[in-house]
Symmetry: C2
Subunit: 719 residues, 2 copies
Amino acid sequence: MNRYRLLILFLCIINLNSFAKDGYKLWLQYDFIENESLRKEYQSHIKRLIPFGDSETINIGLNELERGLSGMLGEVYLSKVNKSNINDYVLVLGSKASLSHDISSLLEKEFNTINEEGFIIKSITLKGKKQIVISGKTDVGVLYGVFNFLRLIQTNKSIKNLSIVDAPKLKVRVLNHWDNLDRTVERGYSGASIWDWHRLPDYIDQRYIDYARANASIGINGTVLNNVNANALILTPQYLEKVKALANIFRPYGIKVYLTARFSAPIEIGGLKTADPLDAGVINWWKDKTAEIYKSIPDFGGFLVKANSEGQPGPQNYDRNHVDGANMMAEAVAPFGGIVMWRAFVYSEHDANDRAKQAYTEFVPYDGQFKDNVLIQVKNGAIDFQPREPFHPMFGAMPKTPLMMEFQITQEYLGCSTHSVFLPTMYKEVLDADTYRKGKASTVAKVIDGTLDNKKLTGMAGVSNIGADRNWTGNVFLQANWYGFGRLAWNPYLTSENIADEWIKSTFSNANDFVQPVKEFMLASLEATVNYMTPLGLHHIMATGHHYGPGPWVSNLSRPEWNPVYYHKADAQGIGFDRSTSGSNAVEQYAPEVAKMFNDLNTCPEEFLLWFHHVAWDYKLKNGKTLWDGMALKYQEGVNQVEAMLKTWNAMKPYVDFQRYNEVKMLLNIQYKEAKWWRDACLLYFQQYSKKTLPKGVEAPTKTLNYFESLKFPFAPGN
Amino acid sequence: MNRYRLLILFLCIINLNSFAKDGYKLWLQYDFIENESLRKEYQSHIKRLIPFGDSETINIGLNELERGLSGMLGEVYLSKVNKSNINDYVLVLGSKASLSHDISSLLEKEFNTINEEGFIIKSITLKGKKQIVISGKTDVGVLYGVFNFLRLIQTNKSIKNLSIVDAPKLKVRVLNHWDNLDRTVERGYSGASIWDWHRLPDYIDQRYIDYARANASIGINGTVLNNVNANALILTPQYLEKVKALANIFRPYGIKVYLTARFSAPIEIGGLKTADPLDAGVINWWKDKTAEIYKSIPDFGGFLVKANSEGQPGPQNYDRNHVDGANMMAEAVAPFGGIVMWRAFVYSEHDANDRAKQAYTEFVPYDGQFKDNVLIQVKNGAIDFQPREPFHPMFGAMPKTPLMMEFQITQEYLGCSTHSVFLPTMYKEVLDADTYRKGKASTVAKVIDGTLDNKKLTGMAGVSNIGADRNWTGNVFLQANWYGFGRLAWNPYLTSENIADEWIKSTFSNANDFVQPVKEFMLASLEATVNYMTPLGLHHIMATGHHYGPGPWVSNLSRPEWNPVYYHKADAQGIGFDRSTSGSNAVEQYAPEVAKMFNDLNTCPEEFLLWFHHVAWDYKLKNGKTLWDGMALKYQEGVNQVEAMLKTWNAMKPYVDFQRYNEVKMLLNIQYKEAKWWRDACLLYFQQYSKKTLPKGVEAPTKTLNYFESLKFPFAPGN
């Protein structure tokens, strides 16, 4: 046995040596379980794999089980054995229709509680034999069950007496790739686009397959391949052939392909003179184009449209409105079961009113006028993916219209890929927020999952942080945001703590001395970032264009609402955007209970103080400090929190392979440096107005405001 | 023993499963040697590793030996044992100065024959003990020896009685990265730039280290980090700090960092009003800038300059000449031991003469006027990296000036990264070409290595094909071109066959049934590509801008010499560019013997026929066919050759891991498709002039010329 162990050890060394963990495998590491008794227990419950059905999807599930179990348990699993020869401790997988009747009949009750994508994992005894069954109404349901079963083992859960029934609470769970056809990625911080359009359809990058695996493992069932600032060429036959190749790869993983549709495509690639949504030629062009797409991609998901926003064309170019535009496209895809996701992210340069109010103003009057297959896609907050925003007032305000959530996974305003920020915490803040639209407990999650207003079509979109960097997200830690988005799109009621726990264990280690501190650090990371960037409700004070680093001084951009000074309104009296009834009255867009709370300086949560109020520098915060002192201390607190995260991580070295350990360490060092940059630049700038000294406990800046204002980053990524 | 083997087998399966070979490890695979007797023989000769010296470089060599030997021989090597306890069969490494005297004294003769970068690998017997010594005059020499020793094992050579002495024949062996600061790569087909400028200097990508390892393994000792179409920002402190971080990583691998210098930098970042090379302010600016660089990078290599070429600024903007410009910069770097690589790739839009003549015309008169530390960097041919060009007439024509070779490794005109073309064959055609400048056997290689004209400063540059794609070069096969470039820069007299042999064995397998057919296919691949793209001396008939695919019809570009019709001059009489004495007289730029050969239709090699002559469609080729028939058959032959390559590769499946096998297969399929595209488009186009039918054996096109002319690729990469 000793020589045995030595050999294992030796081969493990070679292994580590030759294949450093570079993060490519994401949360599907399937690391060997070192704990022998635990491993033996798992082994004792899985002696054979028996698949029922022979679809591509079932085979994918089977392969994943073989890969995952052999990795974690160190045994090679032989599947496809003679089915009559079923021993004790068999792992059976198959859809309801494929399972043998004696098995499926045992699951009748469970089948009645799940939807088409749900799954069942159950320990049963059949003719005295113990089995675990993974099933669902569809093969894709079974595949979701497989990944969830593997996750049980990845997180060292017991598989003794399983009785798990789960199904997604949202229907459309999509990534939005802001990827351009030239492989640049708008707001991308992880290298080039993973879509190698030039070599598609004939070259199938292994990454496409692993992308599909990763998404299926967390229940993502759709992907919008191209940028919302769209190029019409994606709708030409040359590109549709490439899209088809991707759709073919993703199909067995339960993932549908969607495209962004440039509203002016009928002109640009159709040769028409107009894109007017009420023009018969335009209507027909979209119908024909849609039919052409469905001919080669029968399960094409539909279109995502950014219309009349930031220069994109839309129905308003023809004096039509969002309903005209969305419904015209919805009619084109309806015969094929497709949907239209119409973005609510609009703000007009001609509207001098508070930008935060514009989407609501423009969309809410149309409630009830959109076709059944239209989802209005609403960003989590009314401005634009800030480190912290109050929930978007549209949620709950359009009871007759299905609204889908748009979260940003990529960190446009959150330090690119260098800052380790666990975003599910932020997503949960929004999902758990109470709209009060139907009384207390009318949470955003209930709007989104359709239960508040009885909606069938529901969805959540996440603007992807994925690129061609080997570790997908530029920073191993940010894989957790892709993971967390998927898990919340499946079930918006999961806690961010549970998500962090699953992700840490699946990605790194189950060792308690690792899991606990890292979880704490992850759960604190959003607050840290808000503190060193935009504490107390500050927002949109980032540098211009690339949004990398602080820029509260910027005031020279052509549109007023592009300038940070528009948002913070610092002056000799104080700081903050007055959105109360005495100001822009944006509070009015919320339900009365919420409006009242935000409107009153005393009840407004301090994390949104400067979002809703212009507050005097001497205003006393709840902790007794003045606003100036409190703000300065918040900036310092953010820096201290990052320092603590770094310290925590440095102690984790024994638990992580060197490459991933070292990469995270280098990135936390950058984050620490940049947190200080944010603190110093913002405090020096605001100090010009407050005319007050820094309170005790806040480190003095080592550079001047002039220095910070002089910094230029012409090639900051993602711009 | 059986259980033992089973376990190995099992762990190997897991291994393969979890870590598919994605090409990242290049030719440093260090695969386990399956042949037991061979493995045992190696093991018997290496019992211990003993390093002398403790520099970073020596430790890198030691680590590489441990990694390589444990991978190939399956044993863990324990180095740093007590040196007094030297047993039989020790592998010793160390520089001349570090080795113990009793060892170094045995190598006196060898040390006398090598230069500073050379190495010795020798079997010795010391006090009755058998040892292998890897040494050199410098630690970097030792490192080169280490990689060469590992290559012996990688290629299954005997290590019984070693006596290898080798040293590089060229001094400056550099990659040129045409990488922009925004991470796009001009003529890059392998994803984004590997230089993640935004995250430098604080984030050190593992890839930087592996890049250095790979380069050191083939003797590359320099890298020009940025595009020759340069941005002056690289010379600002913000970027120099990042450059320094890279230089620090590369230094112990013997790799120097160079930068391209934008000639107008004194204006753009220096605030001067001029960049006139004779202006005292400008001269001082470059001196100060250079001193600033050397302060943080003491071994900075120097500058590469593209001046007055394709819109780049240069001395001619101030009525100065190349000598003025190059010497001014050379003086700035000279005190620090730096060099200037001044590109000869110039052609003026105001010169109506044959573009092929312009570099020679502009540079040769300056022979002898450049400073000692200036290298004139000359492309292999007089046009621009065509699939096949005659050697550049400047080689041999400037005996008082050191000329360095510029090869293109990236495939701007050779099918991007999709076409598998083994370029060392092309490099060798040029290196072996005879300039006759000092009589017969005055090869280009002898110009380049300085032996023809007794030059001390020598060099070779390769325009890199490296990007952030996981396999570095977008196509595993094109790793061979990086490898081959490095090997030829070390020794331009190596044969392409030997290079292919080494590369195949180090990258894939030593199995003879694999090595032979794959080597044949690689050695035939250039001819195939020339045949289906530009047979018989045709050139520059690619599509506009991106150069992807055929475009012989293009005639509307603003500068005449940008148009394919300028180069092929097809008309009713015939086809080809008359560069003979009756034409542009470009032949005159060669030595009389060469000029005579090219000038005479009967002695001009047919591969350059249409390069030098406008030839009638009915002209009889050496094989008896008419020019038209012969050309058509060449196009068909190219297609057939790719088909054969594909067939060969398909049979190689048993020898290669699935991922790399399948990727190459998909790419060969694309190449086959595109070879037919080239054939059909070119023949249909030229047929308009020849008015002749396709000869027997040439497949009829399935699409029309109109169709081919209508194809547009606005997002083809590398543009």
